[in-house]
């Protein structure tokens, strides 16, 4: 029997109760497959930390008036292009 991914996540985040935690720890000592899953969860957490950081950095407020202004400029450019042809 192996631990499910959500159980290993609970083990990692210490939300599993003490007895189940101890049982899980014993199991992990002998089970290579669950240890590999646990390592994958650790990798996931690093990846998600990077994602959170990226979300914060790229969180730029929208500016609809800026886009409208750009559309106007594009339109002018298009006319210029067409008239030059």
């Amino acid at each position: 029997m192996h631990y499910a991914i959500h159980e290993l996540d609970q083990y990692r985040s210490r939300t599993m109760n003490l007895f189940r935690r101890l049982a899980c720890r014993c199991h992990l000592l002998h089970c290579q497959k669950c240890r590999a899953q646990l390592r994958q969860l650790e990798q996931d957490d690093l990846f998600l930390a990077e994602l959170r950081q990226s979300e914060q950095r790229m969180d730029v407020p929208e500016n609809p008036s800026e886009y409208r202004k750009l559309c106007g400029i594009f339109e002018e450019e298009r006319h210029k292009r067409e008239s030059s042809i």
Binding site: A4, I5, H6, D9, Q10, S13, T15, L41, D44, F47, L48, E50, L51, R52, Q53, S54, E55, R57, M58, D59, V60, N63, E66, Y67, K69, L70, I73, F74, E77
Partner: protein, 188 residues
């Protein structure tokens, strides 16, 4: 319409597709703003930077052909932003009393910073694509728990699901997200 690949987006722009222009703007605007901040531009100058990058791309869009063998789009865009920022800084310097048009200093480690920002941009784009690819509840569970850091019990109550499902959603969505990131990186 959401263009799934950069190639299809750029081709649509080349053909003069109006909707794709908005998508291009929406996709790359945050990156241009972040770059503008790196170059210590003020808010009006950042607006000018967005405008000049978009306009420069617009003017070149007809002749621009996305060919991976000719170089990465990341580099093309990076150079374009750099030149536009340089022009803005130059014109600011001309207007400043006592400042000549001497050597302009750009931030050190500019390339590695750009590389990092591009990777961050890829991650945020991947998250947007993930939302379109998985069930709404799974995405919400993933976003609330894994991205926003809410407690899994709270997320489960809010979504009227089990705590186990929240953990499973996180695991599945993370795995899918990794695949999307890989796909976006391969497209470059």
């Amino acid at each position: 319409m959401a263009y799934t690949t950069k190639k299809s987006l750029l081709e649509a722009i080349r053909n003069g597709d109006e909707v794709s222009w908005y998508e291009f703007y929406e996709t790359y605007r945050p990156l241009i703003v972040v770059r503008g901040r790196d170059y210590k531009l003020n808010s009006a100058e950042i607006d000018e930077l967005i405008q000049s990058v978009m306009l420069r791309f617009f003017n070149r869009s007809r002749s621009f052909v996305y060919d991976r063998s000719q170089g990465r789009f990341r580099d093309y865009l990076g150079v374009m932003i750099y030149h536009c920022a340089l022009n803005i800084i130059r014109s600011r310097r001309k207007n400043e009393i006592g400042c000549g048009d001497g050597e302009l200093e750009m931030p050190a480690e500019d390339d590695s910073r750009w590389h990092r920002e591009w990777e961050q941009h890829i991650l945020t784009q991947a998250l947007k694509q993930l939302q379109l690819q998985i069930e709404e509840t799974t995405f919400q569970a993933f976003e609330l728990y894994a991205v926003k850091g809410e407690a899994p019990e709270k997320v489960a109550r809010f979504l009227k699901t089990s705590v186990n499902m929240v953990y499973v959603a996180k695991s599945r969505a993370t795995s899918r997200l990794r695949k999307i990131v890989k796909q976006l990186q391969d497209e470059e």
